[in-house]
C-alpha cells in the first residue's frame, strides 16, 4: 500500500485536531478552575457542600433525577437598569417633564437595539419606576448624575435577562464555577420538571423538600413528579411518635397508627436540594444583588 503513510498521517492529524478541540482546549480553558470570589465581597464561591448534602448528590444521581431536571440556568442578555427610588421634594408632574426631556437626549445618545426607555405618559408618581433599561452603562451614570443634581434618588442595577430568569429559576446564568465541587456534574438535558439550579433558594425548607419527595402532589397541585415513597419507611407508631415523621395532609397520610419516616437517603437528597444555589454575582455572571435597605 503506497499511500499507507499519507493515510496514517491524515488520520493522525484529523484525530489530533479533534482531540485538541474537544479535550485539550477545554482542559486548558477550565482545567485549573479554582474558587472565585463573589462580586464586591470577599466571600468565596462556590460554597463547599458538607455532610448529608455531599452524599445527597449521589442519591440524586442514583435516582436519575437528572433525567427530568436540569441544573443549568440560561441567560440571553443583560441590561443596565436605572430606577427612580425617591423623588424628594418634587411633584411627579414636574419631574415627568424633566425626565422626558432627559430621555429625549438619551435616545440620541444610544444606538443599542435592546434599549427600553420608560413611557411616562401614565405615570403619576408611583415608585420605584424604571426609567431606562439598556446595554449602555454610560447612559445610566449620566442619568444618575443628572437626577442626583436635582435631589432625586435613583438606583442603578445590572440585571440578567432571559426566559429562565423570567420564570424565576435564577438571577443569572449558571457558569462553570458553580459546579466546581460537583462530581459528577448533573446538568441534565430534559426539563420535564423545573430547573433545580436554584431550588435551595426557592424552597430552602428541608421538611418541604422531604414532604415533596414523599408526596409531590400534596404541595404542588398537578405535579407530574413520581412520588419517591421508597426513600421513606412507613411504620407503626411506637410508644412515642418519631420526631422526624412527616406531617402530611389527610389524603396523603398512611393508615391510622402509622407514620412516615424519611430514610437516610431521603434526608441526604433533601439536604442536597437545599444546597443547590447559583445565586451569587460573579465576575463572569454579573448582576446587582438586592441589598437590604439600611
Amino acid at each position: 500500500m503506497k499511500t499507507g503513510f499519507s493515510v496514517f498521517l491524515a488520520a493522525f492529524v484529523a484525530l489530533g485536531l479533534s482531540w485538541c478541540g474537544l479535550v485539550y482546549g477545554p482542559l486548558k480553558q477550565l482545567g485549573g478552575a479554582q474558587e472565585t470570589t463573589v462580586l464586591q465581597s470577599t466571600d468565596k464561591w462556590p460554597v463547599q457542600r458538607t455532610g448529608d448534602a455531599t452524599l445527597g448528590l449521589q442519591v440524586y444521581r442514583a435516582n436519575g433525577c437528572a433525567a427530568c431536571h436540569t441544573e443549568l440556568v440560561h441567560q440571553t442578555g443583560a441590561a443596565n437598569v436605572l430606577t427612580l427610588t425617591d423623588i424628594g421634594v418634587h411633584k411627579a408632574a414636574d419631574l415627568k417633564d424633566f425626565t422626558t426631556s432627559l430621555l429625549g437626549t438619551v435616545s440620541e445618545l444610544t444606538t443599542a437595539s435592546n434599549t427600553v426607555v420608560a413611557n411616562l405618559a401614565g405615570w403619576n408618581g408611583e415608585l420605584p419606576k424604571v426609567i431606562y433599561s439598556g446595554a449602555d452603562d454610560t447612559v445610566v451614570s449620566m442619568l444618575g448624575d443628572k437626577f442626583k443634581a436635582v435631589g432625586v434618588k435613583t438606583e442603578a442595577r445590572v440585571i440578567a435577562t432571559g426566559a429562565d430568569i423570567a420564570r424565576g429559576w435564577g438571577t443569572r446564568q449558571s457558569v462553570a464555577a458553580d459546579y466546581l465541587y460537583d462530581s459528577p456534574v448533573q446538568f441534565g438535558s430534559l426539563r420535564a420538571g423545573p430547573d433545580l439550579a436554584n431550588i435551595g433558594v426557592r424552597a430552602p425548607d428541608l421538611n418541604w423538600q422531604l414532604q415533596h419527595l414523599y408526596a409531590p402532589r400534596s404541595l404542588v397541585k398537578n405535579s407530574t413528579m413520581p412520588a419517591f415513597r421508597y426513600l421513606f419507611t412507613v411504620k407503626k407508631i411506637g410508644a412515642q411518635p418519631a420526631p422526624d415523621a412527616l406531617v402530611l395532609p389527610k389524603e396523603f397520610s398512611p393508615a391510622t397508627g402509622f407514620e412516615v419516616v424519611p430514610t437516610d437517603e431521603a434526608r441526604q437528597l433533601a439536604a442536597y436540594l437545599v444546597s443547590l444555589k447559583n445565586n451569587a454575582p460573579l465576575y463572569e455572571a454579573p448582576f446587582t444583588p438586592i441589598t437590604a435597605a439600611k
Binding site: 499511500t3 482546549g25 480553558q29 477550565l30 478552575a33 462580586l39 464586591q40 465581597s41 470577599t42 441567560q75 440571553t76 442578555g77 443583560a78 443596565n80 446595554a135 452603562d137 451614570s141 438606583e155 442603578a156 442595577r157 445590572v158 446564568q173 457558569v175 462553570a176 454575582p281 465576575y283 463572569e284 455572571a285 454579573p286 448582576f287 446587582t288 441589598t291 437590604a292 439600611k294
Partner: protein, 201 residues
C-alpha cells in the same frame, strides 16, 4: 478476460492505479471563504476562549462594561460586613469604642478628617503609644488589622466608618488605600499619635 472489462483497463498495466489530480478550484475558494468568515465570527463572538466569557457576552470588554458599579449602597453594605467582623469587636458595632481599649469612632476627628490618607495609615500599620482622640488621651496598642485585607475592603470599611453613627465625610476609594499601602511598604511599623499628626490628612 471478459468483454465488459476490455474497455476499462489497458492490457499492458493490468491493475488500475490511483493517480494524482488537482482539486477543483471552486472547492478551494469555497473552503477559504468559509475559513475566513468562520475566523471573523470567532473573532467577534468567542471572547478569545477566555474562561470568564460566557454567551451572551462576546468579549472581555463587553463583560467589563456590564459589571455593576459598586454603588454607595453596596460599598456601605460591604464596609459594614468587614467592620462587624474585624473592627467591631473592639470599636463596637455602635462605633462607641471600649473604655481603656479602643477609642470611639463616632464623632472622632481622626475618622472625619478631610482626606482619608492619614486615617488609612491606622488600619494598615496599626497604632502604638500615645494618641489623643476627642480630647482624651489614649495609650494605644492596635495591630495592623487591615494589613491582610484587600484594598477594596479597607476602602469600604473606611467609607463605612466615615458615614455611619452621625459621621459625615467623603467616601474612600481603593486607589487611596493602595497609595497609602505603597507608602507604608512591606513591613508596617505601628505609628504613634504624633507621627500620624505630621502626615497630611
Amino acid at each position: 478476460m471478459s468483454d465488459e472489462n476490455k474497455n476499462c483497463c489497458s492490457p499492458e498495466t493490468g491493475e488500475p492505479t490511483a493517480t494524482r489530480s488537482s482539486a477543483p478550484m471552486w472547492i478551494i475558494v469555497v473552503t477559504l471563504v468559509l475559513l475566513f468568515t468562520g475566523g471573523l465570527f470567532l473573532d467577534s463572538h468567542s471572547g478569545w476562549f477566555d474562561k470568564n466569557v460566557y454567551a451572551p457576552y462576546q468579549s472581555r470588554e463587553q463583560l467589563e462594561s456590564i459589571q455593576p458599579k459598586s454603588g454607595e449602597k453596596q460599598l456601605l453594605a460591604r464596609g459594614k460586613a468587614v467592620y462587624e467582623s474585624v473592627c467591631g469587636i473592639c470599636h463596637g458595632s455602635d462605633g462607641l469604642g471600649k473604655p481603656g481599649q479602643a477609642p470611639a469612632l463616632a464623632g472622632s476627628e481622626w475618622v472625619m478628617a478631610k482626606g482619608a490618607s492619614r486615617l488609612a495609615h491606622i488600619p494598615l500599620a496599626g497604632v502604638a503609644g500615645a494618641i489623643q482622640v476627642g480630647g482624651k488621651d489614649w495609650n494605644m496598642n492596635m495591630a495592623a488589622m487591615g494589613a491582610a485585607l484587600p484594598d477594596e475592603d479597607v476602602a469600604a470599611v473606611l467609607t463605612y466608618i466615615r458615614s455611619s453613627w452621625g459621621n459625615k465625610a467623603d467616601a474612600v476609594t481603593a486607589d487611596d488605600v493602595k497609595k497609602v499601602r505603597a507608602e507604608i511598604g512591606k513591613s508596617p511599623q505601628p505609628y504613634s499619635g504624633s507621627q500620624l499628626l505630621k502626615m497630611p490628612e
